[in-house]
Amino acid sequence: MRGFLLNRLSQSLILLLIVSVIGFVVLNLLPGGPLAQFGLDPGMTQDDLDRLKVQLGLNRPLWIQYLDWAWRLLQGDWGHSFRDGATVLAVIGRHVFATLLLMGTSTAIAIAIGTWIGIRGATHRYSLFDHVATVGAMVALSIPTFWFGLVGIYIFSLQLGWLPAGNMYTIGDGSVLNYLHHLILPSIVLSLVHVAIWSRYMRTATLDAISQDFVKTARAKGLSERRVIMKHVVGNALLPMITLAGVQLPSILTGALVTETVFTWPGMGRLFLDSLGYSDYPVVMGLLMFSAILVILGNLIADIAVAIVDPRIRLG
């Protein structure tokens, strides 16, 4: 176990190095830069802009900027946002809750509905339900998330007026109910793709489990079909699902970015877009690293969890 962890850790560090180099190079390909927002300011002279460039250290060669940034990061200093001067961690910290709330809710929805559809599809294989679920999943995977969001807003906010068209809550109303009301539409939109993915995987995993010997044994023992499914099949089918949850993280983040844009949700996705728009390099780099770490952690936790649940899998 220890050897495994060390091995994974060193691999992860190399991965982070690659991510940071790619991110840094790509970002600095951008002409313009963080001072462009003052390009139209009538009172900012070229002198002011040149001075700020030096003060922000943007006049240094790229590799020095990178090494400086990386060295500080190793010491735990993620840098300061160009926009509001706050530390990058603080800036990200302020937006984490909104994104986690949205991602958490939609993942919960996806797991609940996806698992149900998957199991039902597997136990009623080739039934009408199974066919509809199969086709439905493929169509769901084909719908652009933001468009689904737009259609949702059109129907439920603009036409029916049932749900708010955006925002996380109404100002001055911090009640849980208010949050929930705002959460319904974006979390459903974000969960669509994942319901499809979960249901497909769950169906395959359940089918695999059904054909296993211990299920046959359980049936032979005369356990009720429902009990067999719930206890033996689902338990075993859920195992690979844990891995899936880890692997799905980047795509949930991508979905969150698009969904947050459509629903003006104040999370990390919006922060990324805003920061990119302002060329706020430290925050953009911070978000790239943060999401890469999240993804690596997600994978790692999934692997460990699987190893703990299933001793047959040896880590190494």
Binding site: V26, M138, S142, P144, L150, V151, A196, Y201, T254, V284
Partner: protein
């Protein structure tokens, strides 16, 4: 004797098992039908419609669908939505197709080399793949699109650069398992060069998964183009693409919902078609079912 003849005679590819299995896959056929229809509409549609996709008529702005000859209505500049939709389809489908070619090429190259050579080259290549995969692709996509001037060719490259990794993974795994097979060992004994073995002996045997992955990459590429164009970093107007037709649509969702609904439906239709076809190909080519 009859069985032998079927195999040995001049091969009738349309009678092969693969084709038979594909044609018995209803969804795949539906996919082929839909995408053919859509492609034909994009190729011939603009010639049949009375309006040019770039013709501006401010007096006719925001006409709802079925106003006069504007079958799908007009946009904020009074341009015909139907004409734009088909022109946009050309852009989006071409971008997606070439992005698929490019990313399959990159992915295959990386996968074959990593799988065949193994060792530190293989490890380095596959860690790079992991590196690319641990970005949420949209982050990388947007950063790249913001950095480079978004012409259709550039958008193609950007989409390809962010979607070659899956092909690389699939090919690498396939090649690694084929590497120790008899025909490869035989080739080595005969003194064939590494390049020859990689691309002439192993690659043809890994074509099944590559074709399936490539089909699904087209679907993915259409979506990616739509995402970045919707966020304003993709293909720039006046050249229409399905994604950039949607860019301003949210603003008019209340007053002119067709601006949002129509291009989105076209995207969904195209992507669904490719996903259906990919599914059919997977069954027909006997590719292990390890993704959705």
């Amino acid at each position: 004797m009859t069985a032998l003849a079927a195999n040995a005679g001049p091969s009738r590819w349309w009678r092969s098992r693969t084709v038979r299995r594909f044609t018995s896959h209803h969804l795949a056929l539906l996919g082929v039908a839909m995408i053919t229809l859509l492609t034909l509409a994009c190729v011939f549609g603009p010639h049949l419609l009375p309006y040019d996709s770039l013709y501006i008529d401010l007096r006719a702005r925001f006409s709802p669908p079925l106003t006069g000859d504007h079958y799908l209505g007009t946009d904020p500049l009074g341009r015909d939505v139907a004409a734009r939709l088909f022109m946009a389809g050309r852009t989006s489908l071409l971008v997606a197709f070439f992005a698929m070619l490019l990313s399959t090429l990159i992915g295959t190259l990386v996968g074959v080399i990593a799988g065949y050579r193994g060792g530190w080259i293989g490890a380095a290549l596959m860690r790079t793949v992991d590196g690319f995969l641990s970005f949420p692709s949209i982050f990388l996509l947007l950063a790249l699109a913001a950095a480079l001037k978004p012409s259709p060719a550039m958008v193609t490259v950007i989409v390809a650069v962010t979607s070659w990794m899956e092909v690389a993974r699939i090919v690498e795994a396939e090649v690694r398992s084929l590497r120790e097979r008899e025909f490869v060992l035989a080739g080595r004994m005969l003194g064939l060069s590494g390049t020859h073995i990689m691309f002439r002996e192993i690659l043809p045997n890994a074509m099944g998964p590559i074709i399936v992955a490539a089909t699904l990459t087209v679907a993915r590429a259409i979506l990616l183009e739509a995402y970045i164009s919707f966020l304003g970093y993709g293909i720039q107007p006046p050249l229409p693409s399905w994604g950039n037709m949607l860019e301003g649509a949210q603003q008019y969702l209340d007053s002119a919902p067709w601006l949002a609904i129509i291009p989105g439906a076209a995207i969904t239709m195209a992507v669904t078609s490719f996903n259906f076809i990919g599914d059919g190909l997977r069954d027909a080519l006997d590719v292990r079912d390890d993704r959705v």
